[in-house]
Each structure stands twice: as structure tokens, then as C-alpha cells.
């Protein structure tokens, strides 16, 4: 771009200054009617608008699945990668460019199954990423196969007589990993709670992991109800440091007290998943260092000229 254009551009930008929701709208979403992913998208868009985040400073990274189409519908930078590997790409973006804000969206198959290894290790790296898993407890894009979070007994195309394995308690898994610094659970059908959870995640420095229980009226109505009514039982977590529980929620489900700074308490709450999904901030520890901070701390910034000097010093060691 020419220098002159640059000036014009800056002028233009200064005039516009405030971002509206439209500024964050990408392509028209192509999810099914009633899909829980819509709510998650608008939650993120509202957050960016509220915080007036420059669209160019955000990179949304995803894998493959219905949920992973997410970056196409958000007008930031977006990387729609390959199945299961979103965490690796996102880690690279953040290590390469700590100045960018990185959002990761994945499906349950994407994150917990094919991406399982990366999921566990990424939690331990604690790179500054906001991670949202849209968990519809099913492989949706490939049309109805069992996922690690599909409930035991559920009939799918690969388990027509009912899934034989008990579902994976992904919350307990994460609370067992060193360096897990932010773990929350929310649902696509509790918009107010969803917004606040995603906002808290966005504001956390480190890997903030949000599992969103997501309605897929097409393939997992048994979990969330074809009629839109939620069948699975859930419980809200009340915590002054956590996600505020509005009055309306109190009518929807039981509310219990929790302290998100207490890892042991969080582990007990995670076990509730097997009977009634806890919604709220399970665990939060803002003092764990991020991976990029730790790595970059040892790497000092030097000029190209200084680099040539130091490289010459290295070559000296090999010189006869």
C-alpha cells in the first residue's frame, strides 16, 4: 500500500472508530435451523463489540466439523484447519504473534477424540487462548456417529443398538492436568449465562476452556430435545468470583454454591457431570504463567545488525 493511501486509511478509521455488530459479521451462517452454534457465534460477536476489539487483531482458529465453520461467519482473521488439529495451529499463531488475540472453536469429536492428544498438552502449555468446544455429544457433520461424550446407550449410526461405552467426563480430565487455569461449562440454550462465560474466558490470561453444551436438533435431540426443550439435567454454580447466576436461571435449574479458586472443590463439582451437568466457572487460577510468556522471557529482542554480530560469534566456534 502506498504511503498516501495509508494516511487516507487512518483518517477513515479514525472517523469510524466505534465498531458495531456488523463489523464482526462474516459470511451468512449455514448451520441448520435451531442449531446451538448460532448462539455461540452471536455471543462472541457481542463480546467483541462490547470490548471494541479491532477485528484485525483477532484470529479465530478451528478444526473440521459443523462447529468448525465458525471462523467463516466471523469477520476477523480466521483459520479453518483440519480435523482435530486446531489447538496446534492456534498455539503456533500465539507463539508467533503474542500481540494477537486467539480464539479456538472445536466440536467434541474434534477436540476430545481425534484432537485428544493436543487437547491435553495444550491445557498444560497454558498458551493465552480462548477455547470454545461446541459439544453436541455427536459427530454431526459426518452424520450421526458416536463421540466420546455421547451418553452410554445412545443409538447412533455406528452404534445402532446403543453406545456401549460410558461417556467421557471431560471436566474431570481437565482438572487432572497440570496448569489448567480456566475451566467453565455453559449451554447454548442459556444465552445470558453463555455470554458471561465467554466474556470471562476472553478476559482470562492463559488457556481458558469453555465447554458449551450445544443443541443439535438434527442428530442429538435425545440429549437436548427436538422440541427445543432441554432433557439433560443441569445445575448452576453460584460463586462471587464466577459467572453470575441471574434470577431467571434459578427457575430453570437448581443452584449450588462453589468456590472456583478451590481445585479440590472443582474436582468434586466435575464429578456431578455424571448426574447433573454443572454450569458455571469450575476452576480459575490466573497466576499460572502462560507458555508464550515463559518462552519469550528467555528470548531477548535484538536488531538484525546485532544478530549478524552474534551469528558471527557462533561461526567463530566452527572456524579452524
Amino acid at each position: 500500500m502506498e504511503a498516501l493511501q495509508l494516511e487516507e486509511y487512518i483518517e477513515e478509521q479514525c472517523e469510524l472508530k466505534t465498531y458495531t455488530l456488523e463489523d464482526y459479521e462474516g459470511d451468512v451462517p449455514r448451520w441448520c435451523k435451531g442449531c446451538g452454534d448460532f448462539g455461540i457465534l452471536s455471543s462472541v460477536q457481542k463480546l467483541l463489540r462490547d470490548d471494541q476489539v479491532a477485528p484485525e487483531s483477532v484470529v479465530a482458529v478451528s478444526g473440521i466439523g459443523c462447529s468448525s465453520r465458525f471462523p467463516h461467519y466471523l469477520n476477523t482473521y480466521g483459520f479453518h484447519g483440519i480435523h482435530g488439529r486446531a489447538m496446534t495451529i492456534a498455539t503456533g499463531v500465539k507463539l508467533g504473534r503474542p500481540d494477537l488475540k486467539v480464539l479456538v472453536t472445536m466440536g467434541d469429536g474434534d477436540c476430545f477424540s481425534i484432537g485428544g492428544g493436543h487437547w491435553l498438552h495444550s491445557m498444560r502449555y497454558n498458551t493465552d487462548l480462548t477455547v470454545i468446544v461446541m459439544d453436541n455429544e455427536i459427530y454431526a457433520l459426518t452424520k450421526n456417529q458416536v463421540s466420546p461424550t455421547t451418553h452410554c446407550g445412545t443409538s447412533t449410526n455406528t452404534t445402532p443398538h446403543g453406545a456401549v461405552l460410558k461417556e467421557m467426563n471431560v471436566l474431570s480430565v481437565m482438572l487432572g492436568i497440570t496448569n489448567t487455569s480456566f475451566l467453565a461449562q455453559t449451554a447454548s440454550w442459556t444465552p445470558g449465562h453463555l455470554d458471561k462465560t465467554i466474556k470471562a474466558a476472553w478476559n482470562h490470561k492463559g488457556t481458558s476452556f469453555v465447554r458449551v453444551l450445544q443443541k443439535c436438533p438434527i442428530f442429538s435431540p435425545q440429549a437436548f430435545g427436538q422440541d427445543g426443550k432441554v432433557k439433560a439435567p443441569f445445575t448452576f454454580l453460584r460463586d462471587e468470583n464466577g459467572i453470575p447466576v441471574d434470577k431467571v436461571f434459578e427457575k430453570m435449574a437448581p443452584v449450588i454454591d462453589h468456590n472456583c479458586k478451590d481445585l479440590d472443590a472443582a474436582k468434586k463439582i466435575a464429578m456431578m457431570e455424571e448426574t447433573s451437568s454443572p454450569l458455571g466457572l469450575l476452576y480459575h487460577n490466573p497466576s499460572i504463567p502462560t507458555y508464550e510468556e515463559s518462552l519469550h522471557a528467555t528470548a531477548d529482542k535484538i536488531t538484525p545488525e546485532e544478530k549478524v554480530v552474534r551469528l558471527n560469534e557462533e561461526l567463530d566456534k566452527y572456524t579452524i
Binding site: 484485525e56 467463516h72 479453518h80 495451529i89 507463539l95 492428544g117 498438552h121 545488525e305 551469528l311 579452524i320
Partner: protein
Amino acid sequence: MPHHGVLTMKESKKIKLDEHIVEFVCDAGEGAQKAAVSFAKVSAKMGNSLWTVEIIPSEIQPPPHTMGSTSGNRIRLSSKTVTNGGNLTNVVVAFNEMNLLSRIKGKMLADDVVVIIDNKWANDPDETIRKQYREILDELKAKGADIYEVPIEEKTMTLIDNPQRGKNMVALGMLGYLYTRDMDILADEIRSIFKKKSKEIQDNNVALLTLGYELAKETINFQYVIESTPFKVPMVAMNGNEAVALGAVAAGFEHCSMYPITPATSATHALSEYFGRMGGIVHQAEDEIAAIGVALGSYYAGRTTLTITSGPGMALKTEFLGLTVMTETPLVVVNVQRGGPSTGLPTKIEQGDLLSSLFSTPGDAPKVIMAPTDIEECYHVMITARKIAEEFRMLVIVLTDANLATGTQLYPRPKLSTESFPPPMDMSPIPVGTKPYDWDEETGLSRRIIPGQPGGMCRTTSLNHSPEGKVNHDPDMNQKAHRMRSRKLMTLQKSLKKPEVYGDKEGDLLVVSWGSLKGPIDEAVDNLRKEGKKVGAISLQFLSPFPPGLKEIFSKYKKVMVVELNYSDDWDDPMVNEDTRRYSQLSMLLRSHTLVDVDCFTRVYGRPLMPMEIYDALSKRLAQK
């Protein structure tokens, strides 16, 4: 008992040589490596060219006095430039007979090899050891070896109590005598190795060195003289992995994302060191898939990043290689090839990953493949690879090998400047309406947009996409996108030079190769031409795209033959016929590229081919119809 302490002080006979190969082997921990490296360094200082290969035991702590415990170095010394490990070994210094046996079994020793061995085993209390020592030496002698049984340990103990800590210096002194090395330079070198130790320790080691020199003088009545003229330009000595790592820093790489795998790992060790002082980072990922995923994400975000691996790791990266091509993200992947398939020969050389590098990804994935031919090129290739990756928004795979990775070569010290670094990250605003894949119809090239650039917000996707970066399933758009990615390869191809022919520009036989076989092939060609044979050779630095003019070059010869290190069926195998014969990797590619009946000669010995083996194969091919 040998007759040391002889009274006669005859002048030794001086034998003039152009080059020689000497090995120094011992049990792991007895210090042969250290002594051999000093020997090599002093030879280089005196002005000899060299190629050094480490001899490494296959386990971390192998039982001593076994074949598996052999550790040491093999050094090819020459008065001329050396580009490879050469032929059979001329001189071997061994501390025990099992070390020697491992070299015999490896078929590395010349029949008339000069052997210097510690004679203490001749009188070992254990009868089995006495017997095997004698048998091994007798067998060598029968073949024509010239054997010197020397009381190395016994003599060492006249100066120090623990011979394990000094007999390597005695042996080094013996080599110093044998090769008429400048003993002052050698003593200085030893002092500098022990510069952190006391003066007493330094003096002791120099005394051991002198002892060895005198011992050799008493025992051996000849000395070798390999002419040496000190180099006019400063020279560096390093292995190929260090060269790749230094080249990467010189090319401006700032991040490396890797997962440990032999024989690639040492390159990332070196990078970790350099980055520690030069502001980069090495990320050890949870596996090779993550390693390339992180590298790709980082490069996508504008940071110059590479990943380094070997065969099995390369296999795991496959899906990401395709993603790199599809998204037109620049990326450099170094594959230090080892023996395959599967875990194969982890520490040994093979050139077996050419076709899998080209074709492993699903669908058509045009990419650049480069192969350095020696260690000097390992350094320079990194700079070219980075530039191509960024200019063409392409995946560049650099294929080196275990031979380059662990060999040490002497080459002119590279001149450094900021010019080899990439320009600063482009953070300028993007004009409204700029497309992320605004392909130029003729070249396939398009401007790369980097996250953070204002106004450039766009999607990068693994799905087929339009110039706007939007998911697209139209038949014509898929056809076009493929054509555009392919076109970039064509654009690069047009900028490449026709390969230079070594030897005869026309004649009876053309040898085609890639990677580290260039050196030994050129030597074989030299020897054939001395006999009046009309032979030429070309080595391909670019395997994808091929350089221009191959068919024309091929047409100037009666026969064309590829020599490389991957498996193919031998034509003279009685079981093989035209229908069943499986060709080698490069020959397959060249046959389809040129429609010329390209033959091949290949071996998978887990070591480079020697010039003399190639000479034999070429002679045989020349003699055939």
C-alpha cells in the same frame, strides 16, 4: 613381546599421498572421539581438506569390549577438496580386537590396511580373549594387513595411573608421527582442550602425546606425507545438522517447532543453542503432527518458522503438508532422511523419502523439494528455501540425510549480512477489496496477507476456496485453484538454471543423482574418464520442480543411469524381468518426466556408496549393451 626401546634410530621412510582414510576406534568412553577431533582439527589447520564421520555405538551404555561398544571417528584427509567419506579405510587405530572386528564386519577396511592395536589382549588372563585377539589379527594378516601390536596401555601407565584417561592421547601422538603432523600445533590444540584444567593436567597430556609420538617412531619405520597448504580463506568445520541450523538462523528463521527423532534431533539442539543467544524459540511439541501444526500457525501469523524431522515424523505430518499447500502458507520442512520403512535404520542413511515427500498428501499438492549435496550446501539451502517459501507462498521440503547430518566437512566460512534475513513483518493496512488469493493467471502468485494487517480480515481454509478465500464447490473454481497452485511450480521452474554436467558433456553414460551421492559419483566419473571412458554426471538440487533441459542433456548420451540410495531391483537378478522390475525413486520420476529409458543402480546398505563401488557399477553398465 614387541621390540620397543630399539637402539637403532634410522630415518623413517616418507610415503607421499594425495589422500588417506584413517579410523580411530575404542570402547565408548575411552576418548577416541576427542582425540580424533583434535587430529582432524590440526590437519585442517595445516591445510588438509577432510570429511569426518562419527562412529557411534547403537546403545547408550553398551557392554565394553564388544562389537556394539565401538565408538570413534573415521577421517578422510586430502590435499584436495573433499566432498564425501571416500573408499576403504587405510589406517585403523584400535584399543581392542572387538572394535577392530566391528570395522571388519562393516566391510570398511582395505585389505592392506595398517592396523595399530593395543597388544595387552595378547596376554589377557581370559583365554577366550587371547584366542579371539589372535584369530582376528591372523585373519587380517592373511588378507594383507600390516599390523603393529603396540603396548599402548602399558606405556601410558608409565606416566599416569589410570590408562583410561590418557591412552587416547598416546594414540593421538602415534597418529601425529604417522602423518607427520606438526607436533607444536598438536600440543597447542591439546592445551586448548584442557584450557579450563590445571597447567599440570595440560603438561601431562602433552607428555602423553610425546610419548605416543616416540612410541610410533620406535615401532613404525615409515611416515605418510599428505601435502598441505594452509587455506587462503577462513574455513569452518561442522556437520550437516549444524549447518542446517546455522543456515536457518542466517535465513532469518526465528521459531522452530519440532519433536525429537534421530538423526534430525541434533539440528534442533543446535538451534536451541543459537536461538538462546539470538532471540528465537524452539517448541518441543507433543508429537510431529503438533510440531508442524504449530509451525504452520506461526508462519501463517507472519513468524518465520521451520520444522525439522525424519521419515516416521514426516509420515505423521502428511495431512498438514496438504493443508500448507491448500492454504498457500509458506513453510520449510527439513527431513533428515534415515533408513525406512517404519522405524527402519534410525541412525543410518537412505534416500528413501523422495516419492513420499512428493506424493504422500491426498490430492494434487504441488510443493518444492530441494536437496543439498554436501554440508556447505546444507547451510546455503536454508536461505534459498526460506525465500522461495515466502515469495511463492509454498511448502518447501529440504531433504538431507543421516550421512550429511553426522559427517563433518571443511568449507569456506560463510559471509553474513542482514540481506539474508526476511524484510520486517508487513503490518500495513490492506486496501478494501483485496483478495487473499488474488492469483495472477500467468504465475499463480498472489499477495500474502498477515493477521494483524488492518482491513485484511479474511478466512484461510482447508476446503477448496475462491480468490476471496470463501469455501467453494464449483467445478470450474476447483479446476482453477488447482491450476493456480500448480502454476507457481511452473513459475519457479522457469527461473531455474539448466543443471551443469560434470565430466563429458556427451558420450556413453550419464549418471544422475541427488543429495549427498554427488561427491562419490563425481570421483567415480573422474576415474572412469582417466581410463578414456566418455562419462558425465548431473546432480539435481531441485527435485520439484525439475530444472529445465533434462531431456536435452539425456539425449547426448547412449545410456542414462540414476545412482541413489533407495531400494530397486537389480537388472541382472535372474528373478527380475521387464514386467516385474521395480525402479528407484528418482529414476521413476525421470522416466515419466523425460520418456527416456533411465536405468538405475541403488543400494540400501545404510551407508553412503563409496566412489569405488559406483565406479564398478558404472563400468559394468558401460560394458553392457
